[in-house]
């Protein structure tokens, strides 16, 4: 190949490659050496640009690949694991669920509305590229301290952007999570997840095939948007990078809606051989990915690329991140029928090249060769790093005696109004969470539940991560994130099936950050194995760091589960007065790393609550059984804030109060606010209690009667009480007040 390349060298005149240019493209001297060896000559600027994006952290996973291999990715339900545009699982009845999560952290910090909007647009493309119609969106957000001057502006823009894109696409945004912590002041996290539905035998892949087959460009025109977005997402922020901003990508959800309908219409025919959306590194990664997966060459005539701006160079065309574009390989005889569909939807449709057997990526422009690169080495010889890791020092366990006791009701009132526990209604009411008419469980509870059109069954979905646990103990935190998502799905009655993950970390070149990453992966691995809950897709976002200060390690887990009959699903809301309230799972009152400790005592310390995966599974399977048998009326998993917070959320959701007694053997604040894992609160008719307790005992599931629902107040241990009206006010004021400024 090298001789060939030498025989017809790229001849478009472009500046000679200096070490400075190499550095600007984020390639190390070693990596550049590797380029020279592969080519047997110096690259021109376009070729260098292509190497730089293909070998960027974002596209090559060079720092994480070695660790990601540790994640379990197989299982009975897995149709397609990581490596394609999205993961695919079997949900029965010949149907498949296609889902993935993706970060748009850096762009959202620079321009919150467009950054978040294009993030949502990108992940939806990943899902419908595979032939699935998106049926739900979720998002996991992390912002800096509420009092940080930038937080309000960022939160407002991100939420408006997510809504602006998803609402226009007509896909309900049904869930997510939102946390605040000073560690995100300079690096917010915006992770967007899309869940789609397809026929099991109609999944589309990126693997190109058929020498001579036409390569088709469809969607929006190409402009100078976000050039070097991919390399930006792979470079640590310096304060001045707020100044030298790259051109921001602007999203056009209207065009994407047309693209979605046009693609699905074409996918109903047998025209498509391979299809790949143009995401980060647009035309470069899509063309390289398709040809490398097919072991073929590809030849593109850049003069045929639909252009929005004049005078774009091959470099700019190949690196542009203009949105709402797709690349396809189709059967030649389908050309005209395919064109007709895209013209009906008023979208560009251009044949810009063909597949070859040369194994080369050949770019022509103005009748000259603008670039000529061997595809296989570009992908296979991408650098892979085994970066040094330094394990996080174990956190000193915290004796609960050392934690000041605050009267439970007074503490609850403060906690329910604290940033992480306050209602997120202000956010999710800006998302159309009802369109399509299948939303059974709306935002505000545990997992969201969306019925499958025309079926009794539904898909439950959730995103979860507790970064403060991951920071104190990465391995435990990784396991906890997986376990909590599993628990959230279980709490509505669903069978957890698989996850997608979004690993958000600091600078991987720092051993302690790599140590956090490795630790979280190990924990996730153990939890996935213990819970039969494989990883089918994911995304890594490194360099979430400003001036050497990294974010909290944030491995967001997006879980999907199935329930056979949505009528059997239950929400967190109390349904009737006079019902019994039980807590399942062991309550020992672990206060290390708790919200109570942080919000009320200003202490972020101690070891996080242990995660016992065997117990997690035992308890969850037991709860799911009860729900399937229709024996519970409401259920809520216990997470941030502990038992009393969950009880309050259930009461507020149902507009029905409760009275519970406190155990003698445990300090009230430890019992009410400890964050012991693997627990659920559930309600049932009083008559049922005895039998349920007996069965729990047999199943080895700790269970205890707490009290009863009823009234319009929350009462703890006779006497200490607070009205739901007052609780609701506290719970619902934080965000509206913050955002009103």
């Amino acid at each position: 190949m090298n001789d060939q390349a030498a025989a017809k060298p790229a001849i478009t005149p472009e500046p000679a490659i200096t070490p400075e240019i190499v550095a600007e493209h984020g390639l190390t001297p070693d990596e550049y050496q590797r380029v020279l060896t592969i080519l047997g000559r110096a690259p021109n600027l376009t070729e260098l640009g292509i190497f730089s994006v293909m070998w960027s952290e974002h596209c090559s996973y060079k720092s994480s690949r070695r660790w990601l291999k540790r994640l379990p990715t197989t299982g009975a339900v897995v149709i397609q694991g990581p490596g394609e545009n999205a993961g695919v699982i079997d949900i029965g009845d010949g149907q498949a669920c296609v889902f993935k999560i993706e970060s748009h952290n850096h762009p959202s910090f620079i321009e919150p509305y467009q950054g978040a909007a294009t993030g949502v647009g990108g992940i939806m493309r990943d899902v419908f590229t595979m032939g699935a119609r998106p049926i739900a969106n979720l998002n996991a957000l992390r912002f800096g301290a509420p009092e940080d001057p930038r937080t309000r502006h960022l939160l407002a823009g991100v939420v408006a952007g997510i809504g602006g894109y998803g609402n226009c696409m007509g896909v309900p945004t049904v869930g997510g999570e939102t946390n605040f912590h000073p560690a995100y002041n300079g690096n917010i996290l915006v992770n967007a997840m899309t869940v789609g539905l397809a026929d099991k035998d109609r999944i589309f892949y990126a693997k190109a095939a058929g020498v001579g087959n036409p390569v088709i460009y469809v969607g929006a025109k190409t402009g100078r948007d976000g050039i070097h977005g991919a390399t930006m997402a792979s470079a640590e922020f310096r304060d001045d990078s707020e100044e030298k901003r790259p051109t921001v990508q602007v999203g056009d959800p209207f065009t994407e809606k047309l693209l979605l309908e046009a693609c699905l219409e074409l996918m109903a025919t047998d025209a498509i051989v391979a299809i790949q959306d143009m995401g980060a590194a647009g035309l470069t990664s899509s063309s390289v990915e398709m040809s490398s997966k097919g072991g073929l060459g590809i030849e593109l005539d850049l003069d045929l690329v639909p252009m929005r701006e004049t005078g774009m160079t091959p470099y700019e065309i190949m690196l542009s991140e203009s949105q709402e574009r797709m690349l396809m390989v189709i059967r030649p005889e389908a050309r005209e029928s395919a064109r007709a569909i895209f013209e009906k939807w008023e979208l560009d449709f251009a044949e810009i090249g063909r597949l070859t057997d040369s194994g080369l990526l050949v770019l022509k422009a103005g009748g000259r060769i603008a670039a000529e690169l061997p595809v296989a080495p570009l992908v296979e010889q991408a650098p892979v790093y085994d970066r040094p890791t330094e394990p996080t020092a174990p956190a000193r366990p915290l004796r609960s005696e050392s934690v000041r006791a605050i009267e439970p009701i007074a503490a609850l009132e403060k906690l329910l109004g604290s940033p992480d526990l306050a209602s997120k209604r202000w956010i999710w009411e800006q998302y159309d969470h009802l369109i399509m008419g299948e939303t059974v469980i709306r935002p505000g509870g545990d997992a969201a539940l969306v019925r499958i059109p025309g079926k009794a069954k539904g898909l439950a979905m959730t995103t979860d991560c507790t970064p403060r646990y991951c920071f104190a103990d990465p391995k435990l935190g990784g396991a906890q994130a997986v376990a909590e998502s599993w628990r959230n799905l279980t709490a509505v009655g669903a069978r957890p099936l698989a996850i997608t993950d979004n690993m958000n970390f600091g600078n991987p070149e720092r051993p302690e950050i790599m140590g956090q990453f490795a630790g979280c992966i190990e924990g996730m691995r153990e939890a996935c194995l213990a819970l039969d809950y494989p990883v089918v897709s994911g995304n890594v976002s490194f360099y979430n760091e400003t001036n050497g200060k990294g974010i909290l390690p944030t491995p967001v887990v997006g879980g999907v589960g199935v329930i056979d009959d949505v009528d059997k699903a239950i929400s967190i809301a109390f349904k009737a007065a006079g019902e019994a309230i039980l807590v399942f799972g062991a309550t020992i009152g672990h206060l290390g790393c708790s919200i109570y400790l942080r919000e009320l005592l200003g202490r972020e310390e101690g070891a996080p609550p242990p995660v016992d995966l065997a117990a997690e599974r035992r308890n969850g399977d037991f709860i799911r059984g009860l729900i399937a048998a229709g024996r519970l009326s409401a259920c809520h998993d216990l997470s941030d804030g502990g038992l009393l917070v969950a009880l309050a959320e259930m009461a507020l959701a149902g507009g029905i109060g409760a009275e519970i007694a406190l155990p003698a053997n445990l300090a009230p604040h430890a019992f009410c606010f400890g964050e012991d894992q693997g627990r659920y609160l559930a309600t049932m008719p009083t008559e049922a209690v005895e039998a349920v307790l007996a069965e729990a005992k047999l199943a080895g599931v700790p269970a205890r009667f707490l009290g009863r629902t009823g009234g319009l107040a929350l009462t703890v241990a006779a006497g200490n009480t607070i009205s739901l009206t007052k609780l609701a006010a506290v719970h619902e004021t934080f965000l509206p007040r913050l955002m009103a400024g």
């Binding site: 047309l258 800006q430 159309d432 009802l434 009528d567």
Partner: protein, 229 residues
């Protein structure tokens, strides 16, 4: 009875309303692509919710000038029933089939939630399934539902009984807090003078099944089908 749902580029609740209608009609409505100025002979034309043409320029403005709309105006003048929901309502006002305009929500944000709706008049082919004064729970999901018209127009609408729905509290009382978008006089839906055209912002098509948390939208579809069959 026959119905047609007109689909514009960017419409996105056409399936929701087609399902709700189909369920009561016993057969699916015709889905008509906006470019086909030929709309089949039907008793009801629905302009569905969504973001026609991305809601660019003004919500509904661009769709209001499509060939399909010209045809719909003709049919409406000829007395055929026309129902515009959300973006459909915006399109009908932009086209001049209904009075007033829909401005950006007073809160400036998109709002998705169930709201209280008071049925102002049951005297129409759209609302005969309800009792006047009845209160409903129906979802809204819009960014521009802030109904505006000058006082003279509003007075006239009230005199002629052209107000179909108002936003209200659970107990049926009109209140600032119960008005999700700042609409003048809490107006959520209006008829044309001859009451064969209705536009409303809320989504009855998303309140027809128990799993949707409310079935208060049912009577609207049942009433229409009874009146038009």
């Amino acid at each position: 009875m026959q119905a047609a749902v007109v689909v514009f580029p960017g419409s996105n609740r056409e399936q929701d309303v087609a399902k709700a209608l189909g369920a009561v009609m016993g057969h699916a409505p015709h889905m008509v692509w906006h470019r086909d100025s030929e709309i089949p002979k039907v008793d009801l034309i629905v302009v569905p919710g969504g973001f026609s043409y991305g809601d660019y320029l003004r919500c509904g403005a661009i769709a209001a000038h499509s060939p399909a709309m010209r045809e719909i105006m003709e049919r409406a003048k000829a007395g055929i029933a026309v129902l515009g929901i959300c973006n459909g309502f915006q399109i009908l006002t932009e086209a001049g089939l209904l009075p007033g305009v829909l401005l950006r929500n007073a809160c400036l944000t998109f709002v998705c939630r169930n709201v209280g709706l008071k049925v102002e008049s049951s005297q129409s082919l759209f609302t005969n399934g309800y009792a006047a004064g009845q209160t409903l729970s129906i979802p809204v999901a819009h960014h521009d539902g802030n109904y505006f018209a000058d006082d003279a127009t509003l007075d006239r609408l009230e005199e002629k009984g052209q107000i179909a729905f108002r936003y209200c509290a659970g107990d049926g009382t009109l209140a600032e807090e119960a008005n999700p978008n700042g609409s003048a006089r809490s107006i959520a839906g209006v008829f044309n003078e001859t009451k064969n055209v209705l536009g409303l912002m809320p989504h009855p098509e998303n309140a027809v099944l128990p799993l949707q948390g409310s079935v208060d939208g049912q009577p609207l579809f049942r009433g229409m089908v009874e009146a038009l069959s």
